[in-house]
């Protein structure tokens, strides 16, 4: 079964590449298969593994349910947006966030797995920050949730460090030629959160309203905060 799954994955990927996409196996497979997993060899493989582990008493399937629910419905980029909005309105918090991001973010209740050692990096008029993990998929789960597929896939991981402007163009972001670009490769256990610049015309906005301008991509560096107009 393993070889068959590999072969299937390879050819779907090859077909996806041939039609001009870089998306992997499940992006071609996915939406058709949510209700029909028995026919998908990889779904069967995962189900078998879960069955074996459950029968041996090694995992609790209810714990799997809670993990999935946590990352699908409870932890996501709205956490990070609140951190950014607070940094925009509260200079003391911004200073704390710069100095000790783990503690400052933890004070808002965002702690835990893949957010144990946080660093916040602030965009300025001169410098744009971009986060990547070229070696795997390191990402600040506690403030951004699970990473999107593109963040974990070879095109982004290979190019962010050598051609960040080309990557940003694919997100619709063209930076001035003079803007310095700093790419942070998350090669250790530090997890990075980009604090984008506060949009103009928001001087009297509340923290809650400001948070709505802070997109996930802005906190990775593949976007900017939304403009107000």
């Amino acid at each position: 079964m393993a070889d068959a799954a590999v072969a299937a994955g390879f050819w779907v990927q090859a077909i996806a590449l041939a039609v001009g996409g870089s998306r992997s196996y499940f992006e071609a497979m996915s939406h058709d298969h949510d209700h029909d997993n028995e026919l998908d060899p990889f779904a069967a493989r995962v189900r078998a593994l879960e069955t074996i582990l459950t029968q041996k008493g090694l995992i609790d399937p209810a714990a799997v349910d809670v993990i999935v629910d946590t990352y699908e419905t409870k932890i996501g980029p709205r956490n990070g947006a609140k951190v950014v909005a607070k940094a925009w309105v509260d200079p003391d918090f911004a200073t704390w966030l710069k100095r000790d991001a783990t503690a400052a973010i933890g004070s808002l209740g965002y702690t835990g797995r893949q957010g144990e050692h946080m660093q916040a990096v602030f965009n300025t008029a001169d410098t744009h920050n971009l986060i990547v993990c070229t070696l795997c998929s390191c990402y600040p789960w506690s403030v951004l949730g699970l990473p999107p597929v593109w963040y974990k896939a070879p095109p982004y991981r290979s190019r962010a460090v050598i051609d960040p402007r080309g990557v940003l163009e694919e997100f619709g972001l063209t930076l001035p030629a003079t803007t310095r670009i700093r790419v942070w490769d998350s090669t250790a256990e530090l997890r990075y959160l980009v604090v984008p610049m506060r949009p103009k015309g928001t001087e009297d906005w509340s923290e809650e309203r400001l948070a709505e301008l802070v997109t996930r991509d802005a906190m990775i560096g593949t976007g900017l905060a939304r403009e107000t107009a």
């Binding site: 994955g9 990927q13 001009g20 996409g21 870089s22 998306r23 499940f26 996915s30 939406h31 298969h33 997993n37 998908d40 990889f42 995962v46 189900r47 078998a48 593994l49 879960e50 069955t51 074996i52 582990l53 090694l58 995992i59 609790d60 714990a63 799997v64 809670v66 946590t70 990352y71 702690t111 835990g112 893949q114 144990e116 050692h117 070229t134 070696l135 999107p148 597929v149 593109w150 974990k152 896939a153 070879p154 095109p155 290979s158 460090v161 050598i162 051609d163 960040p164 402007r165 694919e170 997100f171 003079t178 670009i181 790419v183 942070w184 490769d185 090669t187 250790a188 256990e189 530090l190």
Partner: protein, 219 residues
């Protein structure tokens, strides 16, 4: 290892192609893959470095042909077999056939929120003072270990500036192989784009890595 995971600067993978309003999961089995991987990891038989190394040890053709959660599951099967929890006979049968090793613990549903909120900090005290300080010029080593390492190929043998001294952290190069945590100081080291990519580099680019102390020498 110079494996398929070490992607920085590789070419030919095509555009990033971000997906609008992307869902967290693209198939129901991906939900289970995430949860099973985390609950199995909670048994405490292996650490995050060993699991990363299992993923990057997949054959390159397999790694590149696999989706992210496929890589996770393939590596998880390897880890479960290595540590005696699952056998080839179990996998062939699709059900428990052979007895399993005894796990250190089994994560119960009620304990999940606390376990996730606690996370797994990997900062550790280091007995010796930090060798480098912010502002020091350093050069990364040019090495090619066959085991796990977190120094990417594109950043080997390059001169950079220590921007920050971080904490002491578990050393992945030994921890991945059951040879101990051996914590070392970690530094954020920043390189000019041209130091890494040569004459074609974007002149506005700097790239930083987080490097364990033994990856670095004075420049």
């Amino acid at each position: 290892m110079n494996g398929p995971q070490d992607l920085g600067g590789q070419m030919g993978f095509g555009p990033v192609a971000p997906e609008k309003d992307e869902p967290y999961f693209h198939a129901a089995w991906e939900r289970r893959a995430l949860g099973v991987t985390l609950t199995a990891g909670a048994m405490g038989a292996w650490n995050i470095d060993e699991s990363r190394h299992a993923r990057e040890s997949l054959h390159p053709a397999d790694y590149y042909a696999s989706s992210y959660y496929q890589i996770w599951i393939k590596a998880l099967e390897i880890l479960l077999k290595r540590h005696g929890f699952v056998s080839d006979r179990d996998l062939a049968a699709g059900k428990a056939v052979d007895p399993a090793a005894t796990p250190k613990r089994v994560l119960k549903a009620d304990d999940v929120p606390a376990v996730l909120a606690k996370g797994g900090p990997c900062d550790r005290p280091v007995a010796t003072p930090a060798r480098f300080k912010a502002g020091d010029l350093v050069r990364t080593k040019n090495f090619h270990p066959t085991g796990h390492t977190r120094l990417p190929r594109y950043a080997r043998g390059k001169q950079g500036l220590v921007e920050a001294v971080r904490d002491g952290f578990v050393f992945p190069d030994t921890n991945a192989h059951g040879r101990g945590e051996n914590p070392q100081w970690v530094y954020t080291v920043v390189f000019d784009g041209a130091e890494i990519w040569g004459e074609s580099a974007d002149p506005t680019l700097t790239v930083s890595i987080d490097a364990w102390e033994s990856y670095l020498e004075p420049a």
